[in-house]
């Protein structure tokens, strides 16, 4: 079947099998490999991307379900001049990563947290990231990074291409 969607601002149409998962579509058809597949069972959140303004785990969404949608992956966050998104910048400043495997999903999920609540407490960040696992257990710095990103204002809870992330 044919699916059409906007991925990181680029409109594309591809012929896919109905059973193709969005995570595999992004990685293998679009060649966007920042989106990691960790547990493959909707638990770890490494495959989190933003679809029509909402964070989702792309290992549990069919590419066909995203037909017609606006999809943003980690690759779509930085500006054309390479300027980092406020959440990316804060993860770097606060060293919000160790091995880095969970990081793309953490960053996308953090944008969703900030869209829902622009100035979360530590506890609210932890609850908002409950669907993302860091097996290095580097959570303290991740929480700190999200709170630092919040100081950048509303852009921290938004993805580019003027797609507003909803609560």
């Amino acid at each position: 079947m044919k699916v059409s969607m906007t991925v990181n601002g680029q409109q594309r149409t591809d012929e896919v099998e109905p059973r193709l998962l969005l995570a595999h579509y992004l990685r293998e058809v679009c060649g966007l490999k920042a989106t990691n597949i960790g547990c493959d069972t909707t638990s770890c959140g490494a495959c989190t991307v933003v679809v029509d303004g909402l964070t989702v785990k792309s290992c549990t969404v069919l590419a066909a379900q995203a037909d017609g949608a606006q999809v943003t992956t980690l690759e779509g966050l930085a500006g054309p001049d390479g300027e980092l998104h406020p959440v990316q910048r804060a993860f770097r400043e606060e060293h919000g990563l160790q091995c880095g495997f969970c990081t793309p999903g953490m960053v996308m999920a953090a944008i969703g947290v900030l869209a829902d609540n622009p100035d979360p407490s530590d506890r609210e960040v932890r609850e908002g990231l409950e669907g993302n696992l860091c097996r290095c257990t580097g959570y303290h710095n991740i929480v700190r990074a999200v709170r630092t990103a919040a100081q950048a204002g509303p852009t921290a809870g938004q993805v580019p291409q003027a797609q507003e992330v909803q609560a």
Binding site: D40, V56, E130, G131, A167
Partner: protein
């Protein structure tokens, strides 16, 4: 993991979805958010040859007051229910319980109709709906019918739905400011409940204590007789047959049922002070 191959049908109306169910029978499954079905398909525990994607049918997501009841469209996603002002005012247990499902990403996809039709005994929203009372509205080739929630969940992945019917709406009584409680025990933040208890106006339902969500009838009868919360909650595990798994054995689940029932009833008695 990749699901087995299937044909995808994308009806534009509920009538077309029902027609597809009639045409394909047992080979077909309804796809809504997919957060129960797709994991099963990836594990090849389910291999439907046809998926009927109802996610593009307009008008299936709503929460509105109709007389003494609140009507909730089957396509209402958990995060929508969580934030819905009508649900918060009229039946506040539901938005709270919706907020306890999985994690934010899961709540962005999962639908109330999906979790109802799936009949996993460890689901949060069916437990709350069973305690609330009310009904499941199903649509088939002969039109709509209403099934009381007490007759809907028959067992593990088994409901009173006919193979050619689809859940289109949930109807629950307006509880307003009446007290309620929902207590869920998990080991990890985004897990299914090992056991959960929902209490609303003297009715108590339990998750994961049998093949399907169940009412704690001995507790309800004791409350009706005027027993104290402590006495009534001590009866919560009566007649239950919970399974044993790596998280808990049956005896421990029965202990949790009594404990969580007591806490849920205490919160309900605290009138509205139920949000954890």
């Amino acid at each position: 993991m990749i699901p087995g191959p299937f044909e995808l049908v994308r009806p534009g109306t509920v009538e077309d979805a029902v027609a597809a169910l009639v045409e394909h029978g047992d080979d077909a499954k309804i796809l809504a958010g997919g957060h129960s079905l797709l994991p099963l398909m990836k594990l090849r525990l389910a291999m439907p040859s046809v998926l009927i994607d109802i996610g593009r049918i307009p008008g299936l997501s709503y929460v509105r007051v109709e007389g003494d009841e609140v009507a909730i469209g089957a396509g209402t996603r958990h995060h929508e229910l969580e934030k819905d002002p009508v649900a918060q005012a009229e039946v506040p247990i539901l938005p709270y319980v919706a907020s306890q499902v999985g994690d934010p990403q899961v709540r962005h996809r999962g639908t109330i109709g999906g979790t109802v039709a799936h009949s996993d005994p460890a689901s949060d929203l069916p437990t709350a709906l069973l305690a609330l009372g009310g009904s499941v509205v199903a649509q088939g080739p002969d039109g709509r019918r209403s099934i009381p929630v007490t007759e809907f969940w028959l067992g593990f992945f088994e409901t009173a739905l006919e193979p050619d019917e689809l859940v289109v709406e949930l109807r629950v009584p307006r509880t307003g400011s009446a007290g309620w409680g929902y207590e869920k025990f998990t080991r990890r933040a985004n897990d299914w409940p090992i056991v959960a208890a929902a209490a609303v106006e003297g009715r108590v339902a339990l998750a994961n204590m049998a093949g399907a969500v169940v009412r704690a009838t001995a507790t309800e009868e004791a409350l009706a007789r005027g027993a104290s919360i402590e006495e009534a909650a001590a009866l919560a595990a009566e007649g239950t047959s919970p399974s044993a798994d790596m998280h808990a054995d049956a005896e421990y689940r029965q202990h949790l049922a009594r404990l969580l029932t007591r806490r849920a009833l205490e919160k309900a008695a605290g009138a509205g002070a139920a949000a954890a």
